[in-house]
Symmetry: C2
DNA sequence: TGCTGGCACTCGACCGTTGCAAGTGCCAAT
DNA sequence: ATTGGCACTTGCAACGGTCGAGTGCCAGCA
């Protein structure tokens, strides 16, 4: 075994021990707990080298070492093997998710499941509408200048939005608009609707065009955006279980979990379902959360991810277990969505 | 001034100082900060009496006194004067709430506003549907045995639910049912709909009755229940700002804030909008939250409350300020709902 | 009767000291 | 390259003493 290999072994051992005990780990404890075939002194040399390279650090002169963000990064990228889920966990995923009826239900069950499996805070973004097809569009007049737009998709998803019209409208106009929109949108996916619905304005008289444009604009842009911005959160209580070090981070993190904008930035862009992505500590410093890590995965029926789900916790977290849980849940939810 | 009056003054002073400083308050500090016209020794006698009666307690022999739950209760019921809101706060309420479009928006703005005003965690229950009138009912077939029921109310509220039918249905049946339901329900309030819609089943042939009954049952019961169970939460981060003593309570409280069942029990029954109700510490021990207090108020357009809103925090909270804020926001939101 | 000053007492908080143990870095030897 | 030995650093816990805030009680006084 070459030197470099052992150094990486040492780093792996440090990360594992530190995550398990939450205490700085020293050279002696290391050789006791892991059967590395060398003496503490040798380990010390390796540790000094690791510290020089920035993978570990010591909180004070005479304490053990603690992994740095850079150390966790290396651990996640090259050192950790995916921890297979236990049979009980697999069973939990199935029984928890199989009873779900509609999309809301899937999302809310998923987020609670993730929180329970990882014992951390879970976040699930609602799937984007862009791949759904339109089942029905309903327009309801609330007042002469206010119309409620309701969009129903084939996945059973309902989106609503109130539109303020630039001019008065009457029931006849709304009725006609409803009929025309449904005629060209029902059964189409969103991209197709977008292409066709913009022409709709021309079919109406000039005096009605402003109102029609307002409705179609809402239908196209706002509904998608609003939907993509929706997220479900669960397991915030788990975050309170961590001690001192994480306490400072707790308040900003809880606030962030309530702010959908920050939350979505934290989840990041969902491009493809795999692989599971990990952002560690300072890597998401833009949000001011330098002591928290995020483990996310895209999910959705096809090869393209519709949305992201993930888990949020302290940098000192069980990465292999969390990655496995997030990956498994994302795969299972994707399967469910594909079956619909 | 009689003896009893001064004892109550002392209790009031203790509560105010303790809330402000978070530290046990002694007899000397008391006469220094408040201009009670007597000496520390006299105060000590009063304090001893108050302790005998269970209103205050001392954490250890040689520390100051701390209010008990019973002491807070007396303070809230008889000693605290309603602290009027500052002009800035009143302005904040108006500017924050006036831009709200639909009901969702009102609720989400309200809950954030409450959290911000009180610097604690806020909870707002969605208004019950029972006073709304039906604007439109939409049925959408998702599969031969699955129908999506969408209810649109005059307040712009949209409720949805997937129904599993006991037998296959076709478009014709669903279309007829949609037409009949809308014919008798549109413009009616919920009580009226309930009375009339049950007869609907008889109009259909025996082979369809099971399916029709399933849909109407969903329409009547589930939609209301589900809606009444919905709550919005904000400001959980504020809870992390309290020290030690509240840390133990933090995890169960955060969990409770995610569990709508517990949360609704915490909010309590909303009967009439006023007055603001306060539940202190052990008074809601059924939920296991013996160190948290809840300040709630009903709200809604009429004299009857449609739902509850409130604030959750440690027993050591600024009751007068919180009560004033909750009351003012509840009144303002009620006014907005009435104007709709 | 109620208030007050005085006094002895209690007990947690604070502080400096000390001993301990964990852990390190370095070095000479293998 | 690895190892055992050794001196060194340093946080931490235990200890003891002092301090001060706060109390309860009592005798005196209006």
């Amino acid at each position: 075994m070459s030197v470099d290999d052992r150094k990486l072994d040492v780093l792996r051992a440090i990360v594992e021990d530190y995550v398990a005990t939450q205490e700085p780990v020293g050279s002696k404890a290391l050789v006791d707990r892991h059967h590395l075939g060398v003496s503490p002194a040798t380990i010390r040399n390796d540790m000094a080298a690791l510290e020089d390279e920035g993978y570990i650090a010591q909180p004070h002169t005479s304490a053990g070492r603690v992994p740095t963000d850079k150390g966790y990064r290396l651990f996640v990228d090259r050192l950790s093997t995916v921890k297979p889920l236990s049979a009980a966990e697999k069973r939990a995923i199935q029984t928890f998710l199989d009873g779900a009826l509609d999309l809301d239900d899937v999302v809310s069950r998923t987020v609670r499941l993730l929180a329970q499996l990882t014992r951390q805070a879970a976040v699930v973004q609602y799937p984007s509408l862009s791949r759904s097809t339109v089942r029905h569009v309903e327009l309801v007049m609330l007042a002469p200048t206010r119309v409620l737009v309701v969009l129903i998709t084939d996945t059973g998803r309902v989106e609503q939005r109130v539109v303020d019209l630039p001019a008065d409208a009457d029931d006849a106009l709304v009725g006609e608009l409803r009929a025309r929109i449904n005629a060209l949108a029902v059964g189409q996916d969103f991209a197709a609707v977008e292409a066709r619905v913009t022409e709709l304005t021309e079919r109406f008289g000039p005096e009605d065009r402003a109102a029609v444009a307002a409705v179609t604009a809402t239908l196209l842009s706002t509904l998608i955006e609003r939907h993509e911005e929706r997220v479900a959160v669960a397991g915030t209580g788990n975050l309170a279980r961590y001690g001192q070090e994480f306490d400072r981070e707790l308040e900003p993190l809880l606030s962030a979990l309530e702010e959908h904008v920050v939350l979505l930035r934290l989840l990041g862009e969902a491009t493809s379902p795999t692989p599971v992505r990990v952002r560690i500590g300072s890597e998401n410093a833009q949000t001011g959360l330098s002591a928290t890590s995020v483990v996310t995965s895209g999910y959705g029926p096809g090869e393209l991810a519709l949305a992201s789900m993930g888990v949020v916790g302290p940098t000192r977290m069980d990465y292999p277990g969390t990655i496995a849980a997030v990956g498994a849940v994302a795969r299972y939810v994707s399967k469910i969505l594909a079956a619909h």
